[in-house]
Symmetry: C2
Amino acid sequence: MREISAIEAWKQKYPESIVLASSVDAAGLPNIISLGWSMCTSFIPPMVAISIGKTRYSHKLISEGKEFVFAYPGEDMEKEVLYCGTHSGQDVNKFKELGLIAIPAKRVRPPLIDRCIVNMECKVVGQLDTGDHTIFVGEIVASYISDEKKRRLYNLGNEKFGGL
Amino acid sequence: MREISAIEAWKQKYPESIVLASSVDAAGLPNIISLGWSMCTSFIPPMVAISIGKTRYSHKLISEGKEFVFAYPGEDMEKEVLYCGTHSGQDVNKFKELGLIAIPAKRVRPPLIDRCIVNMECKVVGQLDTGDHTIFVGEIVASYISDEKKRRLYNLGNEKFGGL
């Protein structure tokens, strides 16, 4: 065993799951972000946690709107995940650019994301400042599964992505 | 797309990463817990977040001691992960029962866990109540990598575990 930096140690963390999160601005215009950092965090009631960089546009939207939709992209969505992770919703409408349908949700303002395996409507019930990111905790108030069976997309490390 | 319960939706979350976390009681006796719910949550400074059920003994130990060691078990550690996930440190000394060496850490009281791919010493810098769990955020103050190359262990769903 030898000592290394945390960032070097994190190179051993792959495969890492990837999720998409949608949010809306005050006018209702939707945005999507790709996230490598998420986890479940309660069974009763069901909750998920996502960690978002403080400089990201979705950080602002979710801080203000207190709602998001949490979705598992399919293994066929590498292009969409990379686009959402490298463009800002301040500059582009990602749904429009990617040809993804923003499906109206039932209990929150941000939309469900077309083509994802699972979509979960979340209301922010807690948030915590953590270094250069913020953890947003969402209580899941509705969930949906796609009719199409497919595998989730993972970050395999070394800029490779795929299903498992 | 059809509506389902969140718990049903979570069946699509596998493979899910597994980590081990060590902690110590007031007398310095070490414990280990297996966790399916963890994520990174800051680059600068490096931080990880873990979600622990409120009834778990490690919840008490980390709440009180404010330190933990976060480790990635190897794919050869399924037996150890299952044992740590199904026994309480209130009843047994898991290190001793499993023949795992509790390697002294440098900057925290909980020990490094033998045979893991990566060990990270963490000081709790934040915690958040989330339903039936608590999120503990640890700033990583030292990290180590094993000399032995091996893959991480994942929960593949349906009570199956393995490397990827």
